[in-house]
């Protein structure tokens, strides 16, 4: 037995074990707890990266739980009875995003969380959320997907309400929990409908059987509704600004990665589960219009915000709009070339968004820690003491607005290019959104960091700067060499969704 064959399950099981063992170690000693958390974090990242390398070099990795050999696939014409984890290019790509965000969040958490405010419990919840996200991304089973979805919901809501001594986090957490539960119910109903028709839960098997009956369409609608709710797309976006604004900074950025895991579920449903029957342009139009609406509404709401946390939150929601727009275009694509470009744009944007929004949220966390408030009218002149943080915020703002040469420009250009071929109007809306975002964040930067010095601010500790530095380095690398990332990471992921359905099915169901 070698470690290499068990990578997919280890990437999920290790953070899960880490989560529940952490409070025990915390009882023994603080140092032991921190070492354990660091070891679990490092090991999980190593697993995810090793798995990504394996997938990108050898193709789809299937891991069958409870089989005599984990690499066992179903015999041709056979019936899958076990839970499988199926990791293709797209899953591996999403795993990398989760690992990056998780790592930065963990480093930041060491110094951000206070000992007397339940630090070990917050770390436990973070590991649970991480395990749930990786599980959603790696699983090849619909019910398993639902279970991991609910694990992320519970852990995420517990983190949103982390500041239990205030009333607003509890209100945000309650609202989010109610919406997540409804979303989860819709997914569960869809799973029940699919199971009732085909007697299986395996994504590959279901995909090979789905024929586009009326019940299938209902199931698709339920899955779309449930996953869009969790992704925070308009009109179910109300939870997102509250949640991002009230959660501790390093948890808020993991919440963003979590919405992306839901989006991944959506892509998996659209292009793999229903990939064989999805000819209806109605679904594509629905996703494109929801995406455009999301980005427009979120950007306009961002203009009105006076709270730094909520402003960034609306920025994060608007980016979900760009991803929906990019990938929604694929479902409408009649010509292969433009479909693949749109897919690349939407998928590349997921990674950019995770890094840039994460960086902005961490910077906002430092601001809140230093000044004790996130109210834009009360902030100012923090750049004198928080030089690095100000710089990171500026970098994040430019990248989010899609200014060349930063990474946001590279992915948005792909989306503009492909949307232009469908309708120049869509491109105009998307560009307008970017310009407004730039204006909003320029104002926020100027208001928070520039101007006369108003108060003494405690500079950010090294750990927080390291966490922001990692994200900033990724942003710069992706901005300066987008070609490398597109070629080696984004294109395999886009191809896995765009034309990899047959490979995915064959890997699970056998030749």
């Amino acid at each position: 037995m070698s470690l290499g064959t068990h990578l997919p399950i280890l990437a999920i099981a290790v953070p899960l074990l880490g989560a529940f063992a952490l409070p025990i170690f915390a009882k023994v000693h603080k140092r032991l707890r921190d070492m354990w958390a660091a070891a679990v974090g490092a090991f999980t990242c190593a697993m995810v990266i090793a798995l990504a390398v394996q997938v990108l070099s050898t193709g789809v990795v299937v891991y069958t739980l409870g089989a005599t050999s984990p690499a066992q696939t179903v015999a041709p014409g056979g019936f899958p009875i076990r839970i499988t984890l199926t990791v293709d290019g797209m899953s591996a790509f999403m795993g990398l995003i989760s690992a990056l965000v998780g790592l930065a969040s963990l480093i930041y958490a060491f110094q951000f969380l206070k000992e007397d405010q339940g630090k070990p419990l917050a770390m436990t919840l973070f590991f649970l959320l991480w395990a749930g996200m990786l599980g959603m991304e790696y699983t090849g089973d619909m019910f398993n997907f639902f279970v991991f979805l609910e694990i992320t919901s519970i852990a995420a809501c517990a983190l949103i309400g982390y500041r239990t001594w205030e009333s607003r986090p509890a209100e945000a957490a309650f609202k989010t929990m109610a919406l997540y539960t409804v979303g989860g119910l819709l997914v569960l109903l869809a799973v029940a409908i699919l199971y009732g028709q085909y007697g299986a839960l395996n994504i590959a098997y279901l995909s090979s059987k789905i024929g586009g009956s009326q019940l299938d369409k209902i199931a698709l609608g339920l899955l779309l509704g449930g996953l869009l709710m969790k992704a925070g797309a308009v009109p179910a976006h109300m939870w997102a600004p509250d949640a991002y604004g009230e959660a501790p900074a390093q948890a808020a950025m993991v919440l963003v990665a979590n919405t992306q895991a839901s989006l991944y579920g959506l892509w998996r449903v659209l292009f793999t589960l229903f990939g064989g029957v999805l000819a209806a342009p109605a679904v594509g139009w629905l996703v494109v219009s929801l995406g455009t609406l999301t980005l427009l509404v979120a950007v306009l709401m961002a203009v009105l915000q006076r709270d730094l946390g909520r402003l960034i939150a609306y920025g994060a929601v608007s980016q979900i709009g760009y991803m929906l727009l990019g990938v929604g275009l694929v479902a409408l694509a009649s010509r292969p070339d433009f479909g693949l470009v749109a897919m690349q744009g939407g998928i590349f944007h997921m990674m950019n968004d995770a890094a840039t929004v994460g960086l902005l949220m961490l910077a906002a966390g430092v601001v809140r820690r230093a000044a004790g408030t996130k109210d834009l009218t009360a902030l100012g002149g923090l750049g004198h003491d928080l030089k690095w943080t100000g710089g990171f915020f500026f970098l994040g703002a430019l990248a989010l607005a899609g200014i060349p040469p930063f990474n946001g420009f590279a992915s948005k250009l792909l989306i503009y290019e492909s949307s232009f071929r469908l309708s120049p109007l869509l491109t105009a809306v998307a560009v307008l959104g970017s310009i407004l975002l730039l204006a909003v964040f320029a104002r926020a930067f100027q208001g928070v960091f520039l101007g006369p010095k108003m108060r003494e601010a405690e500079p950010a500790p090294v750990g927080m700067l390291v966490a922001m530095g990692i994200l900033a380095a990724v942003i710069l690398a992706m901005g300066l060499a987008p070609g490398f990332f597109v070629e080696h990471l984004v294109t395999p992921a886009a191809r896995a969704l765009w034309e990899g359905r047959d490979l995915y099915l064959a890997a699970v169901l056998g030749g």
Binding site: I154, E171, M177, T181, V182
Partner: protein, 114 residues
Amino acid sequence: MEGQVALLLAVSLLVLGLGTLLSRRNVIWKLLGLNVASGGAALFLVAVGHRPQAVPPILGWGPGPAADPLPQALILTAIVIHFATLALSLVYVIFLTEHLHTQDVPKLERGEDE
């Protein structure tokens, strides 16, 4: 026949629960609605596993076809999950009641602006 009745009941529970969630202003009522809807979803899954004239899926329960045992295993998981979400939400209701002394959603949202 029983299958259709169970499906109909499940869908009515879902509609009733989600309707309560949307229409009531009290957070406890909202949670009750959500819980009824979860029960509806669980019943829906069990009803999906129904087969005509089937016996419970237990070894030695006599001849004839057995009901599909998998949905029954699935709803056990789903029930546990819904219990966890309900428990967590109730904790937030306790916190909200302590902080703002109300369970009325509009008042809770106004409390946010203070």
